[in-house]
Symmetry: C2
Subunit: 265 residues, 2 copies
């Protein structure tokens, strides 16, 4: 059955989109079939995978408004085994469009249930193994939908001081959603990002995160690496833009650590 992970942290700029794109690519390279759902109105994940604004006839907005299925809206990326449902600024109006609809937290959960049913009927193609949801930096209806639909949350945390402040709020949010909307929700893991090996500062932050989240924190740490920041301007994941750089190696390692962790469940 498909495993759905929400990549979420309300702190901005911590590497959610970069992790969705590059972990997704590394999982696909390992033979898993992966679907990325872009829930960010800026559509960074779509652009970072080479799906330009003009190539988004259907988006996550159509899926959440239940006017398109996930499989209809999905587009194949340049990476084998990796598809994406893109996003654009239509998503900004979702909150007001669904005002008063009691089912508004469940739109994505229902859409993924439909996808599972569609997949079992499909004769061609293998089913998806992983769905990665790239969340915007807020605890809005979009993130609520992601956490209600997901089996678990993957939390990127930047090795910077301000990133520490949001940790307890994030944990509270997951607990709240677990208690009300999605009883099986848990934190699948925490990924340290933009770690600068040259400074003691990054190490201190990493230690604080490990002290707070314990064994949830992945061994793999993603280093700050300018090639990772350059790749999206070419519409490519880092594994294609520069396969040999330390950023690629880290995301490949993260993918195998995640698969091992999933096998233990």
């Amino acid at each position: 059955p498909v495993r759905v992970l929400a990549i979420s942290n309300q702190k901005g700029g911590v590497g959610k989109t970069t992790t969705a794109i590059n972990l997704g690519t590394a999982l696909a390279a390992a033979g898993e079939r992966v679907m990325i759902l872009d829930l960010d109105p800026q559509g960074n994940a779509s652009t970072g995978l080479g799906v330009g604004p003009e190539a988004r006839p259907l988006t996550m907005f159509d899926v959440l408004m239940r006017q398109s299925s996930v499989l209809q809206a999905a587009v194949q990326t340049n990476v084998p085994n990796l598809s994406i449902v893109p996003a654009n600024s239509d998503l900004v109006s979702l909150e007001s469009d669904l005002m008063g609809d009691a089912g508004r937290p469940y739109k994505l959960r229902d859409a993924l249930a439909e996808m599972a049913a569609d997949q079992s009927r499909l004769l061609d193609g293998r089913p998806f193994n992983y769905v990665l949801i790239d969340c915007p930096p807020s605890l809005s209806l979009l993130t609520l939908n992601a956490m209600t639909a997901a089996h678990a949350v993957l939390v990127p945390i930047q090795c910077e001081f301000f990133a520490l402040e949001g940790m307890s709020q994030l944990k509270e949010t997951v607990d709240q959603i677990k208690a009300t909307l999605n009883p099986k929700l848990e934190i699948q893991g925490v990924v340290l990002t933009m770690h600068d090996q040259r400074t003691a500062f990054s190490r201190e932050i990493a230690d604080s995160v490990r002290a707070y989240f314990g064994s949830k924190v992945y061994e793999t740490v993603i280093p700050r690496n300018i090639r990772v920041a350059e790749a999206p301007s070419h519409g490519q994941p880092i594994l294609i833009y520069d396969h040999a750089c330390i950023g690629s190696k880290a995301y490949i390692q993260l993918a195998s650590e995640l698969i091992a962790r999933e096998k233990q469940l």
Copy 2:
């Protein structure tokens, strides 16, 4: 009269809070009286100025719910001439608390009108010259309140590829608010942040931003500087944590450029 600037960009992690803290401090050091309003539920600006979670008896939540005035909720920071109204996670529920209240976009505008009236009655202390509003990374009710109350928007843009994508959405948002809620709203300026002098990549991004926003872009560019990222962990603005570093010099220069620009209005 007081000048109100909203520091806003829906892209996460571009340096909004860092600019609010350090531009605020540099303006205060230049003799201006400055009030920072922390509209981020994570309260990063409050922490970065040494106002811990236990020292926030009143917050922007109380001000927006009209249960406290700005002056009652404000606390003096360790920086002379610089006060802040802190924030905490109470702000997360604002959207649902004000659901159905037709006046919800105007709460901050009304609170600042009250502050202006209070100031003219006060016999002690000089009035505030600047109010800087640190916005969260979304186009939610909090940012709507900030843009409805502000005279202008100051937009930090990180010298990274993904930061380019949000530019047109931000411009549209300002235009929409100008047309509906706040006819005098404009973009006061754009500040390039985390510029890495060593790479051509940063220069290319900076050129694209200047091509899009023209003369709105400040000459002063804030360099990426590890000391700037370290300062908030000591509860200090960079001008106090390390006055001689390139980060401090850049924010001091930005403050004088901003004052010169304001004089021309």
